[in-house]
């Protein structure tokens, strides 16, 4: 059927609108990072921890599988977890001091068993649920930055790139606090 000359521009316009919308949708990142910060490293250390919030705006779960930065030699994904020692009194300590020396010596306490311990442990990935978010914060998930190339100052911004399991990357700008 012949397309009348007056209809052609409208048709082209509609196609262009849909094409543009598709382009915009394709460019919008599925995973975004915000509220990123880096702990000021201890004076004798050139390593520190990165914390941030990751939001997944897609209907597919995603995972952070690695991280990199021009500011540090190596980044690793870690978590803090509670672990128990089998026999802390036998393996890590000497004899108990049973003397109370106080007025409340009638309180009889059993010899304490091992205390729970906090440990930093490398993990392979951080999973971000579909249409959800995950927070990396002290005492939990974090990204360790080893071999800082220069000592940052308070308020400096550090650029980090997170790599996801689908091959895409997430840019992060972290503030030194």
């Amino acid at each position: 059927m012949k397309i009348r000359a007056v209809q052609l521009p409208s048709f082209v316009f509609v196609v262009a609108v849909f094409a543009f919308a598709g382009l915009v949708a394709a460019q919008e990142p599925a995973v975004v990072a915000h509220d990123a910060w880096v702990r000021m490293p201890a004076p004798s250390k050139m390593e520190t921890a990165l914390y941030l919030v990751l939001e997944n705006h897609s209907s597919q779960p995603r995972a952070v599988v690695s991280a990199s930065s021009d500011a540090a030699a190596k980044l690793e994904i870690h978590e803090m977890k509670t672990v128990m020692k089998d026999d802390s009194m036998g393996k890590s300590g000497g004899p108990m001091n049973q003397s109370t020396g106080g007025s409340d010596s009638s309180m009889s306490m059993d010899k304490p068993t091992s205390q729970p311990m906090m440990a930093m442990t490398p993990i392979s990935k951080i999973e971000i649920p579909a249409n959800g978010k995950i927070t990396l914060a002290p005492n939990g998930l974090h990204i360790m930055m080893f071999g800082l190339k220069s000592r940052p100052a308070m308020g400096d911004k550090i650029n980090v790139t997170l790599k996801l399991d689908d091959g895409s990357t997430v840019p992060v700008v972290a503030i030194v606090k």
């Binding site: 702990r39 000021m40 201890a42 004076p43 004798s44 250390k45 390593e47 520190t48 921890a49 030699a73 190596k74 690793e76 870690h78 803090m80 672990v83 020692k85 802390s88 009194m89 393996k91 890590s92 300590g93 000497g94 004899p95 108990m96 001091n97 049973q98 003397s99 109370t100 020396g101 106080g102 007025s103 409340d104 010596s105 309180m107 306490m109 059993d110 010899k111 304490p112 068993t113 091992s114 205390q115 729970p116 311990m117 906090m118 440990a119 930093m120 442990t121 490398p122 002290p138 005492n139 974090h142 360790m144 080893f146 071999g147």
Partner: protein, 189 residues
Amino acid sequence: MKSWTRLAALILLLTAGCHHAQLPVLPIGGDFALTDFNNQRFELSSLRGEAVLIFFGYTSCPDVCPTTLSKLSSVYKRLGADSPRVKTLYITVDPNRDTPAVLKEDLSSFQVDAIGLTGTKAEIDKVVGLYGASYEIIPLPDSAAKYSVAHSTTLYGLDGEGRTRILFPYGASIDDIVRGVKEILAPNS
């Protein structure tokens, strides 16, 4: 009921506001000698007359230790005129890396009246045992960290006679610690 549960119950008793009850003397702790961050011999007995807070950690610790030290910075600020009467002892469970110089340098970044302590493994293990603490070296051959140190997180509050009076769990707030320290410093504690 495990001992640590009973001890935690004592802390709850404190935070419930029983300010007039005398603090119990806990059956853990005792005098010890280590090396301080000036590479001098240190004895706990040298701090008689002061309240003492003891914490086991290591300077490469990314979270727990700086969090505790930051909390203690706020505690000291809140103690105000009482702060000179309180000394913090930071005992490393990583003497391999935490030399006196490293302890001194890293503790200087916190506003805490702290002494860093180290020693031989045997000396540190003895003190860890006295206070019922725990630590474990975890090799991490594939990590730039080389190894991690799992460690217990209790903050111990001692009175001016070197007796352990309070155990602050890691989750204790600044208010909890300030209140507890004031209890220790009270004339009739």
